[in-house]
C-alpha cells in the first residue's frame, strides 16, 4: 500500500526515508589498488565498491609500500582530502625497517630509563627486565666496531645478517666468524659521513639458536596487528595468527649454518624445499600452538607467554608512536614475526608493512580473505564513503576476528596511574584496553 503525499515521487522518497535510499544518494566507495590479489579485490567487490584509477577521485587506495612513498613525498605535494583513506602510514618504515625499528626501541628504552619509569628496570647483569625483547642488534657498517667488541665477548655465538630493506628472507645469511663479514668493516673505515645507500645497509643480530622446537622443527609466529591511530594508540590483534614451520629438522650444528631450510621460516623460502606440502603449507594455527603448549607445559606458562607476546607488540608500537606521522587518512595492518625460544621467551624479529597476501593453501586463502574483510570493516566503517575526521572508534560488533589489543584512550580514561606496577602477565583485573564484553579473553591485563 503506497503512501501518497503531495509533491510527487521525490517527496515520496524523502518521506519514506529508508536507509538504502540515503546510501544510494551518498554514492559508492571508489577504490584503487596496485596490488593484484584476489583476496583484496573480492572484498572490495563484495561491498559493492567501484573500481577507479588513481588519477580519478578515489576514496580508498590499498597501496604497495613503493606507492605510499610517492604519495607522501615532499616533491609530489599530494594532499589527501577528507574522504580519502590509505592503508599505510607515511613513515611506517620507522617500524618496518629492521634498523629503524631497533633504533626506535633503543631510544624508547633510554627515554624510559631517563624518566625513571619502572618499565625500564634492569636486572643485575644490566638486561632490561620488561623491555628486552629484541635480540642484540647492530647496524652495519655504522656500528661495525661496536659489533666486533660484542662478538669477541662470546666468540662461539652465531649471528644473523639481514639486509635492511628486503623481505621474504632474501639476502639473509648466518655467520659465526668475523671473517665472514669483513667487507662491511672495510666500508665503515671509509664512509663516516656518507649516507649509506639503503640497498647496502644490513643489520646483524644475535641469532636465537635455541628456538622452541615442536616435532623437532623450528617455527615462528605470524601475527596480524591493525593500527588505526598512533596518538592516541589504538591497535587490534587478529585472533587467527599462525605458525610457520621449517620443513627440515632443526640443528644448531655449524655444518648446517648455510642451510636456509633449517633456519629461515619464510614461506617464500620453505616452499622450495623438497618436503614442502601444499595441503597444510607447513602452517599451524595459533590455537593449535596454544593447545600444544597448555597440554605439555601447563596453563600458567602458556598464558604468560601469550601475555608477553601482546606486551612486546604494544611496546614496539609505543616506541615508534612519537615519531610516527599520525596522518588521519591512514591505517595500517602489520605482519609481526615473533620467535619463541626454548625458555618460552618471545622475541620480536621484525614487523612487515606489507604482509604477504598470497595464499599458499586453501585455508590460507580463507584466512587472508577474512583478514582483509575484518580490516576493512574497522578502517572503513559501514563500507561507506569515509570521513577521516571520525573518531576511529568502531563498535565492537564489527571487530570480527580482531580483538582490541591496546586502546590508549580507554586506558587513560580509567584514571589511575599508568605506570606498570606488576610484571607483564600478572592480571591486574579488568583494566586497560580490554574490550568491555570480552568476558575472559583479556588481551591486556595491564595499562
Amino acid at each position: 500500500m503506497r503512501n501518497y503525499t503531495i509533491g510527487g515521487p521525490d517527496a515520496q522518497e524523502e518521506a519514506t526515508g529508508k536507509q538504502s535510499d540515503i546510501r544510494i544518494m551518498a554514492g559508492k566507495v571508489k577504490w584503487v589498488t596496485d596490488i593484484e590479489k584476489s583476496v583484496l579485490i573480492n572484498n572490495f567487490e563484495k561491498r559493492g565498491w567501484v573500481q577507479v584509477t588513481e588519477n580519478e577521485d578515489w576514496n580508498f587506495y590499498w597501496m604497495s609500500v613503493q606507492t605510499i612513498r610517492n604519495v607522501f613525498s615532499v616533491e609530489t605535494g599530494y594532499r589527501l582530502s577528507d574522504d580519502q583513506i590509505v592503508n599505510h602510514f607515511p613513515n611506517h618504515y620507522e617500524l618496518t625497517r629492521k634498523d629503524l625499528m631497533v633504533k626506535n626501541i633503543k631510544r624508547y628504552r633510554k627515554e624510559l630509563e631517563k624518566e625513571g619509569s619502572p618499565l625500564a628496570e634492569k636486572d643485575e647483569s644490566g638486561k632490561y627486565l620488561y623491555l628486552d625483547f629484541v635480540p642484540v642488534t647492530y647496524m652495519l657498517p655504522a656500528d661495525y666496531n661496536l659489533f666486533v667488541e660484542e662478538f669477541r665477548k662470546s666468540p662461539s655465538s652465531t649471528w644473523i645478517m639481514k639486509p635492511c630493506g628486503k623481505a621474504q628472507g632474501k639476502g639473509i645469511f648466518l655467520i659465526n666468524k668475523l671473517s665472514q663479514i669483513k667487507k662491511w668493516s672495510r666500508d665503515s673505515k671509509t664512509s663516516s659521513f656518507m649516507t649509506q645507500s639503503t640497498k647496502e645497509a644490513y643489520v646483524i643480530s644475535l641469532y636465537i639458536n635455541n628456538p622452541l622446537l615442536i616435532g623437532g622443527r623450528k617455527f615462528d609466529l605470524r601475527l596480524y596487528v591493525l593500527v588505526s591511530t598512533y596518538r592516541p594508540l589504538r591497535c587490534y590483534m587478529y585472533k587467527l595468527g599462525f605458525c610457520r614451520f621449517c620443513t627440515v629438522k632443526y640443528t644448531p650444528s655449524t655444518s648446517e649454518l648455510d642451510n636456509m631450510f633449517v633456519h629461515l621460516t619464510n614461506v617464500a623460502i620453505q616452499k622450495h624445499g623438497e618436503d614442502y606440502n601444499h595441503i597444510h603449507g607447513g602452517k599451524w594455527t595459533v590455537h593449535n600452538l596454544r593447545l600444544y603448549l597448555e597440554s605439555t607445559r601447563g596453563k600458567e606458562v602458556t598464558s604468560r607467554l601469550f601475555d608477553e607476546i601482546h606486551w612486546i607488540i604494544v611496546q614496539s608500537l609505543k616506541a615508534v608512536a612519537p615519531v610516527m606521522n599520525n596522518d588521519k587518512h591512514c591505517f595500517e595492518c602489520y605482519g609481526y614475526d615473533i620467535i619463541i625460544d626454548d625458555k618460552l621467551k618471545p622475541w620480536l624479529i621484525e614487523v612487515n608493512a606489507s604482509p604477504s597476501l598470497t595464499s599458499s593453501t586453501a585455508n590460507d586463502r580463507i584466512l587472508k580473505y577474512n583478514l582483509i574483510n575484518d580490516t576493512l570493516n574497522i578502517a572503513v566503517p559501514n563500507g561507506e564513503i569515509p570521513d577521516c575526521k571520525w573518531n576511529k572508534s568502531p563498535p565492537k560488533e564489527v571487530l570480527g576476528n580482531y580483538e582490541i589489543l591496546y586502546d590508549e584512550e580507554l586506558a587513560q580514561g580509567d584514571g589511575a596511574d599508568r605506570e606498570l606496577r606488576s610484571r607483564p602477565g600478572q592480571s591486574l583485573g579488568p583494566r586497560g584496553g580490554r574490550s568491555r564484553d570480552s568476558g575472559r579473553t583479556v588481551l591486556t591485563t595491564w595499562k
Binding site: R217, L291, S295
Partner: protein, 526 residues
C-alpha cells in the same frame, strides 16, 4: 548369593594371578621387606602394620590402580568352564567371520610380498643399521620408494564384510514390518536406546557442568571451570585411577589431560619401561619388516597431510615401527576376537615349531591406522611415554574398531547402535537417505573406525576421547555420529545423491562435540 561369591572369588583369583607376574608385585615385595626395618612394624601385628605402611606410603593406591586397571580391561569370566575362545568372542558365527576376514588380509599381504619379491622380514646390513640410527629422529625425510605398496585394506573394505554378516540362527523372514532394520548391519545385537544411553552417560546431562561447553568464553569461570580444575588437581595428587576416570567424564582441563590419561591407563614411566622401548627401537634398527613400508605409506598418506598432525610425523614412525615389534601386545588377543596371523620360517610351512607371529605384535596396520597415534602427540612429547600411552589405548579400545565381535564397544555394535539411533529418532532423514542410495553408515563408518581422529579439530577430539576413557566404552562414537547427522539434518534432507550427502558431511572441523552430544541425548524430544 553363593553364585556371586564364587564369581567374586574367581575374579580375585584371576587378578591375583595376573598381577603376580607383574613388576608391581616385585616392587611391593621389595617394599614389604624393606619396611621391616621401620620402627612401627612390630612382629606381633606384622600383617596389619605392613598394610598400614602400604596405605600411608601410597603403595596401596598403586595396587588399587592396578586392580582397577585389570577390571577395566579384562572381561569378567562368564562361566568357569567357558573355553578361552569364549573370552575372545562368545558367538560362533562372529568368530568364523573374523577368521575368514583374517585369512583374506593375510592373503593380500602375502600376495603383495610375492608380487614385489620383498621378504616379510629381513635382517638389515650393518651399514643400513647405522644409517637408520642416525636418521631415527627424522625418518620422515628421504622416504623410500613406496609407490608399489598399497595399504592392505581400507575401512570401506571392512565395511563390506560387516554388511554381509549374518547370524545363521536368526531368521528375519521376508515380510517387512516397522521393526525391520533398514540399515546395512543385519545382525541382532543388543544396543542401548536413548533412555539407556541417558542413564549410562548421566554425567553429560544438562544439569552437570562440562568442559567443552561450560568453559567457553561467555561463561564466567567461577561457575564451573575453576572448581573443576581444582578437583582435577586434587585427583592427580591422590593418584587415584578410579577417581580420575569418574572425574574425566566431565572433561579434562588441557593442562591436566596428559597426567590424567596416564593415571587412568595406569601408565607410569618406570626405568624398565624406557629400557623396554629402547629395546624395541633396537629391534627396529636390526630388522626390517614389510609392515614398516605399510606404516610409512600410511603416515605419508594421512598424518603428513593433516593440518594438525603434520608436525609430529617423525614421532609417528618412532611409535608405530616399535609397536609392530612389541610382542607384549600379543597378550590382548586373549580378549580380542581376532588372532595374530601366523607365518612360517622359509621352507617350513605348516610346521608349528617354526611358526612365528607376523608382525611380531600380531597387528596388521590398515589405511588410517597412524591416526590413532597422532592426537596423542599433542599431549606427550617423550617418545617412550607416548609409546606406552598409545599401546595401552590400543589394547583397551582401538582394537575393537577393526575386529568383528559382539562386544558392545565393538565396531559391529557401534554401527548397529548408530543405525538404530538414526532410524528410531530421525526416521524421515534415515528413510530419505536410504532412498537416494546414501545409507548413513557408508558415510559415518570411517569416522567411527578412526574414533573421529582426523575429522574433528584436535581440541574437540581430545574432549571426545576424555569421555571414552571416562566411560571405558566406545559407544560415544556412535552417539556422536548420530548427533552429527541430526545437526545437519536440514541440509541432508535436501540432497539427492550419496556424493551430495558426503559433501554436506565432509567437513567436521568446526563442530563442537559436547553441545552436539548433549542436545542429541538430553535435549531432543524422544
Amino acid at each position: 548369593m553363593l553364585q556371586e561369591e564364587s564369581d567374586l572369588a574367581l575374579i580375585i583369583a584371576q587378578i591375583v594371578q595376573k598381577l603376580k607376574g607383574s613388576n608391581l608385585y616385585a616392587q611391593l615385595e621389595r617394599q614389604a621387606w624393606a619396611s621391616l626395618q621401620r620402627p612401627e612394624i612390630k612382629l606381633e601385628s606384622l600383617k596389619e602394620d605392613i598394610k598400614e605402611f602400604f596405605k600411608i606410603s601410597g603403595w596401596e593406591k598403586k595396587l588399587q590402580n592396578a586392580v582397577y586397571s585389570e577390571l577395566n580391561v579384562f572381561p569378567l569370566p562368564s562361566h568357569p568352564a567357558a573355553p578361552p575362545e569364549h573370552l575372545k568372542e562368545p558367538l560362533v558365527y562372529m568368530r568364523k567371520a573374523q577368521g575368514s576376514w583374517e585369512k583374506r588380509i593375510l592373503k593380500s599381504l602375502n600376495s603383495m610380498c610375492t608380487e614385489l619379491s620383498i621378504p616379510l622380514a629381513r635382517k638389515r646390513p650393518v651399514g643400513e643399521q647405522k644409517e637408520l640410527l642416525n636418521k631415527w629422529n627424522e625418518m620422515g625425510t628421504d622416504e623410500p620408494d613406496l609407490s608399489l605398496f598399497r595399504p592392505v585394506y581400507a575401512p570401506k573394505d571392512f565395511l563390506e564384510v560387516l554388511i554381509n554378516l549374518r547370524n545363521p540362527n536368526y531368521e528375519n523372514g521376508d515380510s517387512h514390518s516397522f521393526r525391520t532394520h533398514l540399515g546395512l548391519i543385519q545382525v541382532p545385537l543388543k544396543v542401548k536406546d536413548i533412555p539407556e544411553l541417558k542413564e549410562f552417560f548421566v554425567e553429560l546431562g544438562l544439569t552437570a557442568g562440562q568442559l567443552g561447553i561450560d568453559d567457553s568464553t561467555q561463561v564466567p569461570p567461577e561457575l564451573f571451570e575453576n572448581e573443576h580444575v581444582r578437583i582435577g588437581q586434587k585427583v592427580l595428587s591422590e593418584q587415584d585411577s578410579a577417581a580420575a576416570q569418574q572425574y574425566i567424564r566431565q572433561g579434562s582441563p588441557t593442562a591436566l589431560r596428559a597426567e590424567l590419561w596416564a593415571l587412568i591407563l595406569n601408565i607410569s614411566s618406570q626405568p624398565e619401561d624406557i629400557l623396554y622401548y629402547e629395546q624395541l627401537k633396537t629391534n627396529v634398527i636390526q630388522h626390517d619388516l614389510l609392515v614398516d613400508s605399510l606404516i610409512y605409506k600410511d603416515v605419508k598418506l594421512t598424518a603428513s597431510n593433516d593440518d594438525y598432525y603434520f608436525v609430529f610425523e617423525d614421532y609417528l614412525y618412532q611409535v608405530l615401527l616399535c609397536f609392530s615389534r612389541d610382542t607384549s601386545v600379543l597378550g590382548h588377543f586373549a580378549y580380542n576376537s581376532a588372532s595374530p596371523p601366523k607365518s612360517y620360517i622359509r621352507g617350513k610351512l605348516g610346521l608349528e615349531e617354526y611358526a612365528v607371529f607376523y608382525p611380531p605384535n600380531g597387528v596388521i596396520p590398515f589405511h588410517g591406522f597412524s591416526m590413532y597415534v597422532a592426537p596423542l602427540c599433542f599431549l606427550y612429547h617423550e617418545p617412550s611415554k607416548l609409546y606406552q600411552i598409545f599401546r595401552e589405548m590400543y589394547v583397551r579400545f582401538f582394537f575393537r574398531l577393526h575386529s568383528i565381535s559382539s562386544h558392545p564397544s565393538g565396531i559391529v555394535s557401534l554401527c548397529l547402535l548408530f543405525e538404530t539411533l538414526l532410524q528410531t529418532y530421525l526416521p524421515q532423514l534415515f528413510y530419505h537417505l536410504r532412498e537416494i542410495g546414501a545409507q548413513p553408515l557408508r558415510i559415518s563408518f570411517k569416522w567411527m573406525v578412526r574414533a573421529f581422529s582426523g575429522y574433528l579439530a584436535t581440541d574437540q577430539l581430545l574432549l571426545l576421547w576424555d569421555r571414552i576413557l571416562g566411560y571405558n566404552s566406545l559407544e560415544i562414537l556412535a552417539v556422536l555420529a548420530a548427533a552429527v547427522f541430526a545437526f545437519r539434518a536440514v541440509n541432508l534432507m535436501e540432497v539427492t545423491s550419496l556424493a551430495a550427502a558426503e559433501a554436506v558431511l565432509a567437513d567436521l572441523s568446526t563442530l563442537k562435540v559436547m553441545p552436539l552430544l548433549q542436545i542429541f541425548l538430553f535435549a531432543t524430544v524422544t
